[in-house]
Symmetry: C2
Subunit: 234 residues, 2 copies
Amino acid sequence: MTTRSSTDAARVIPEATVARLPVYLRALTALADNGIRTCSSEDLATAAGVNSAKLRKDLSYLGSYGTRGVGYDVDYLRYQIAREIGVTQDWPVVIVGIGNLGHALANYSGFRSRGFRVVALLDADESVVGQSVAGVVVRPFRDLEEIVREHDVAIGVIATPAVAAQDVADRMVAIGITSILNFAPAVVAVPEGVDVRKVDLSIELQILAYHEQRKANGADAAAAVAVETGGGAA
Amino acid sequence: MTTRSSTDAARVIPEATVARLPVYLRALTALADNGIRTCSSEDLATAAGVNSAKLRKDLSYLGSYGTRGVGYDVDYLRYQIAREIGVTQDWPVVIVGIGNLGHALANYSGFRSRGFRVVALLDADESVVGQSVAGVVVRPFRDLEEIVREHDVAIGVIATPAVAAQDVADRMVAIGITSILNFAPAVVAVPEGVDVRKVDLSIELQILAYHEQRKANGADAAAAVAVETGGGAA
DNA sequence: CCCATTTTGTTCTCGCGTTCACAAACTCCT
DNA sequence: AGGAGTTTGTGAACGCGAGAACAAAATGGG
């Protein structure tokens, strides 16, 4: 069970690093588009918005793809990262729930260009079924199994209302999907071996609001103290 | 400068905890909707998808809002968290970039219900300006300053293409916005004191793809070893 | 050919976050 | 009233990730 081929011997890439690899990939693509063929860790770190020590450490988990005294070959490194993440291959994806967000996801060009292919759009609402979104006809949710088997889909996207999320996830898991990207504002429980990532628009805003409130309170408190002590502008 | 009012004396809530508070808030709301008036840390932890020790520790940063041997009063705790995050007040928000994603965000009902009010939709593209989206008329990007001043906006949302993101962010910062939620697939640099959070749809998918690939490789490797060693099903 | 310069890859240290484990505190039953 | 049973709040141990600092390797000039 635990036997591994020799090629992935010491390959335990930390989760935090995995989460940054796509950022590096994008930064490298941007550099390449600007005609830059070689870059230092400092250059790439700036483009990716991290510090260079962290970048070098992250890259070291993949292997030694740089040249000391020189830097990294942009195209070469880009290919290595892409291969490591798996975006050199084609990932079929199904999107369930074609509301406002589902529309936006179906139309998002960033998927296709990164190896993800939307093979089907599904919705339980019959009034949505049959509509064409982003050149794909929306099919009834009950067709999920057929589509997943036909295209060998491993990744599912949930963009339904919160109440439907768990049911959709359960169905996906039952059919054999092992990675789920959940946009619904609900916690979905899945069995061991299935990965779920959650993107929540309003949670991000709430985190910003917390810090914003702290900034304001800090200012208020300082102002209050200034008044109390008789300080302040003339 | 560092003077603080006595009410927020030992109030240094860890960032990781802050990120989970909105999740707890939503779980509490769900419990309340189901008519549940009291819950244990175990119950709430399950609803929020975390373990109970973490939940209790997180809540302990806010204060002692539970009762030993009993649990938490759902409504009371919900209010305390809401107040801590700042969603008991009203946060005016502007959304810049009314493409597919901007449409979805403008229509997202989860904002309004959590204290966020979309006061304006902006786009640099004149062909979009004047359209009505979610009951709000899209205005030209150049109106940003006027709108921010009028409504005292502190939070801006960027839903533009990647190339425009940095320009929009710069403009927002110049006008006095101090919190930015960036949906554009680009790294935006901002000065000290401005918070940026980034939501990237395709990065999340790439992280899933990485793990999916590892699952597949692990299975392949195991199968290959089985073949090499002459093992396998009859 | 050797040395100065540049830049990577890695080691070490520190701090944060997670988890365990338990004492304190509350309820309920007898 | 007292003890058994629950459940919170927190102290302590542990592991992971971030960042600094440095050794190793490559280049280029004299």
